[in-house]
């Protein structure tokens, strides 16, 4: 699958208008310098040769050299990856904690005012554009109240992480909350929950222990799928908050036609997605004993 992705990205880049050497030259380009740069970037060779060379290098663990930065792509990405991973983890944490809590609370009394408020908020979270939400959070909590920094990485401080994580996690939180609610409502109608109630167990235990655990299975699936949303949202969140991550790098590289970086960054995103879903599959083993039996 990863091979297919790299081929697709390469071909998309090849048909996109614009020449990486020209884009690197600024507005005024000297024809000879341009030719030399094309040779340096190996852009004078046929497309098939370029791609096969790239794959050959990749097989040796070499992602090539960035046109724009003239450094190893692996180095360029490795510098920014920790920032993106931190942000993605924090956003997922926000989504899981807030989403499950909101969904469970809403499911306690379906149709109540609290349910309406929480689910309304969830829809807002899903439908609010990331860029706008980020701007508003920064305006309120950083500029007006002065509680948190406006933007930046801050050398990795937790305070700098809060607003970007909330922004990126918002969409996801909404999805998780809605899924938790509907899944819980589904589960509470089942016989074993009625049995638990019949035994006279307090509602807190019935919902929190017996029902929620089973209700979480589809929620975990949503979290896995939601990884894709995080990857889509990362470039925007990183831009609003000047967060030095891979998303911003990818956007800049596309603009500059820095093909080696685009290929490298897409490959990393694809890997993150695959690994994330692998983690979700492993999580099923923990939550759902049936999958354990099936696996053995």
């Amino acid at each position: 699958m990863l091979f297919g992705i790299t081929l697709l990205v390469f071909l998309l880049n090849a048909i996109a208008l614009g020449d990486p050497a020209r884009a690197a030259m600024g507005q005024r380009a000297d024809p000879e310098a341009l030719e030399r740069l094309r040779r340096d970037y190996a852009l004078d060779r046929p497309l098939a040769v370029q791609y096969v060379t790239w794959i050959g290098r990749l097989a040796r663990g070499d992602l090539g050299t960035s046109f724009r930065e003239q450094r190893a792509v692996a180095e360029v990405i490795a510098e920014r990856l920790p920032a993106t991973v931190r942000l993605a983890f924090a956003a997922t944490l926000v989504a899981v904690v807030l989403g499950v809590a909101a969904g469970a609370l809403a499911a306690v009394r379906p149709g109540s005012a609290l349910d309406h408020v929480l689910m309304g908020a969830a829809v807002l979270g899903i439908s609010t554009p990331v860029f706008w939400l980020g701007m508003m959070l920064a305006l309120v909590f950083a500029v007006t109240l002065g509680w948190l920094p406006v933007s930046g990485y801050g050398g990795g401080s937790l305070r700098h992480l809060v607003l970007p994580a909330l922004t990126l996690g918002a969409l996801h939180t909404g999805t998780v909350a809605r899924m938790t609610r509907s899944s819980l409502l589904e589960v509470v109608r089942q016989d074993y929950v009625q049995t638990a109630r019949g035994k006279g167990l307090p509602e807190r235990i019935v919902l929190g222990k017996h029902a929620l655990r089973n209700a979480l299975i589809p929620v975990v699936t949503v979290i896995g799928i939601g990884l894709a949303d995080l990857l889509v949202g990362a470039p925007l969140t990183e831009t609003v908050f000047a967060w030095p991550g891979v998303g911003r790098l990818l956007v800049a590289a596309v603009g500059q036609r820095d093909l080696p970086v685009v290929m490298g960054a897409v490959l990393v995103f694809a890997l993150v997605y695959v690994l994330g879903n692998l983690l979700v599959d492993l999580a099923y083993l923990v939550i759902d004993p049936r999958t354990r039996r099936a696996a053995t």
Partner: protein
């Protein structure tokens, strides 16, 4: 040989200015500046953008530099003599200048730096020196016109006189680099530059911040600031919020907020607008139908009213244009006549061109690069041209794709901005309109006018003065009358600078947020 009188006078003025300063600079502190993008490189040989240049100008020095009035003044060279025929320049280097690694600068460093940069991304800076073309093409081992006279003297010989040559020597592509550091670091020199500048490189976290610190052994003495931090913040609204939260000392004014910041009680005294060396224009490909017909180009020029763009879209915070050269450029003439907004005349020209009411023209593609402002300008143009019967089809592409269709001639009508690399009319008129520069080199209109070529060739070689200026004005008027380029407005810098920041140059080269001004005179009053 004659001493360049201009240089001596300007140095005297600069000294007088320094003495007259009301407050003595206070040492210490960190200036918190900002960029809108990560610099692609910090190597003067490979930079092509203002962000990179803004750092390079602090870390490196050239033989000369431009002062606030855009006049070349001595930097690493303490004196420059020009031969009477304007073809030989002799630079006497300041003795005892040290690189950040402690070694003294010698004339051989100049030769090395120029030959290295001539094979970089801005070879045109050096191509006026005899033998440079051969060297760039690889048919010569060195640039023949560069001669080391002694350890501290270097002579540069040109093929023919070129008036803005000293401007080129003050340009950041001509910065002096230490050979041993370049060789030791290889491509890594671009991420860890070593120069002679008032600030030395401290650290760079990509897409986050570049940090410079004071170089105490700078040849002009130690700068007041301890450190300069350039944060990298891509979204203009985020830069603005950081400034309002007190986390930045200077930034740019976000699009559409020029008036509101000037009326904001808190920001009023901190907002500044000043003219810079750029022009926003529209260009035609004059080698291709339909705009190979000058009457049609003139019809378009007469149908466009830039006032709407200047006053409404840009809130009057840019400068209305007559010709191509911006008013802040030395050599600007206020006597240029633009093709005035006159729909009647435009319609009549359409009739003369055989397209009454725009008949037979079909939708004409208009190319512009991505950006909210460019989109809105394109929509205004579309509406205004519809009034005379011309339908524009808007084609929005990102920068890399836009520059491609512009360079290869497939775009017939397109936007193009131009910001001077150095303050001389040659950098506008010759680069953009001489037939020798057709295509990516600058003349994307593919304009060929032998009379204009001749005027430009003559002026480029003349010594600065009224005769030279008159030639440029004649050429500029001919280009405007031919409607090869339609100026919409001249650029400005719209900046927010905290009151505590003193000594920041607001020259026409400095455009917020990427100030190109030297920061060695800046100090903080807090």
């Amino acid at each position: 040989m004659r001493k360049l009188a201009g240089l001596a006078v300007v140095v005297a003025l600069a000294l007088a200015g320094a003495g007259a300063s009301a407050q003595a600079p206070r040492a210490g502190g960190t200036l918190r500046a900002v960029f809108s993008a990560d610099p692609p490189t910090l190597d003067p040989a490979h930079a092509t953008d203002t962000t990179s240049s803004a750092v390079i100008r602090q870390v490196f020095d050239g033989l000369l530099e431009l002062d606030e009035t855009l006049t070349p003044v001595p930097a690493l060279a303490r004196r420059v003599d020009a031969s009477a025929d304007g073809r030989v320049y002799t630079f006497a280097l300041r003795p005892g200048v040290r690189f950040h690694n402690g070694r003294e600068v010698r004339a051989a460093d100049v030769k090395y730096s120029f030959e290295r940069a001539a094979k970089g991304k801005r070879p045109w800076v050096f191509e006026k020196i005899s033998g440079a073309r051969e060297f760039i093409k690889g048919t010569a081992d060195g640039i023949g016109g560069v001669r080391l006279v002694d350890d501290l003297t270097i002579e540069l010989r040109l093929d023919r006189p070129f008036a803005p040559f000293l401007h080129l020597m003050a340009y950041d592509a001509a910065s002096i680099v230490p050979r041993e550091e370049v060789e030791k670091r290889g491509p890594g020199f671009a991420s860890h530059p070593v120069g002679t500048g008032a600030f030395r490189f401290a650290s760079w976290r990509r897409d986050d911040q570049v940090v410079l610190e004071r170089f105490p052994d700078h040849f002009r003495g130690s700068a007041p600031l301890d450190r300069v931090v350039f944060r990298i913040i891509p979204a203009e609204i985020t830069r603005f919020n950081e400034y309002r939260a007190g986390q930045l000392d200077l930034t740019d004014v976000p699009t559409g907020q020029c008036r509101s910041v000037q009326n904001d009680p808190q920001l009023r005294g901190e907002a500044a607008v000043w003219p810079t060396l750029g022009t926003h224009g529209l260009r035609f490909n004059v080698a291709k139908p339909p705009f190979d017909d000058a009457r049609l180009r003139r019809a378009v020029a007469h149908a466009i009213d830039p006032t709407l763009i200047v006053e409404r879209l840009l809130e009057g915070c840019v400068y209305p244009a007559r010709g191509i050269l911006p008013p802040a450029l030395p050599g600007y003439s206020s006597g240029i006549r633009r093709l005035a907004f006159d729909r009647g005349r435009a319609k009549q020209l359409l009739v003369e061109a055989g397209h009454p009411g725009g008949r037979g023209l079909g939708p004409i593609p208009f190319n512009f690069n991505t950006g909210d402002l460019n989109q809105r300008i394109a929509e205004v143009l579309q509406a205004q041209l519809r009034e005379i019967g011309i339908a524009l089809e808007l084609r929005r592409l990102d920068w890399a794709a836009h520059i491609k269709v512009v360079d290869d001639g497939s775009a017939v009508f397109f936007r193009q901005g131009w910001i001077a690399d150095y303050p001389d009319p040659e950098n506008f008129l010759t680069v953009l309109f001489h037939s020798r520069n057709i295509g990516a080199a600058g003349n994307t209109s593919r304009y060929r006018n032998a009379a204009v070529d001749r005027l430009l060739d003559e002026a480029d070689a003349m010594a600065p003065g009224p005769t030279r200026s008159a030639r440029y004005h004649q050429a500029e008027q001919a280009i405007v009358d031919d409607a090869v380029w339609i100026s919409l407005y001249h650029y400005s810098s719209r900046a927010l600078v905290k009151r505590s920041v003193k000594g920041l140059e607001r020259s026409a080269l400095s455009s917020a947020p990427e100030f190109l001004a030297p920061l060695r005179r800046v100090w903080l009053d807090r």
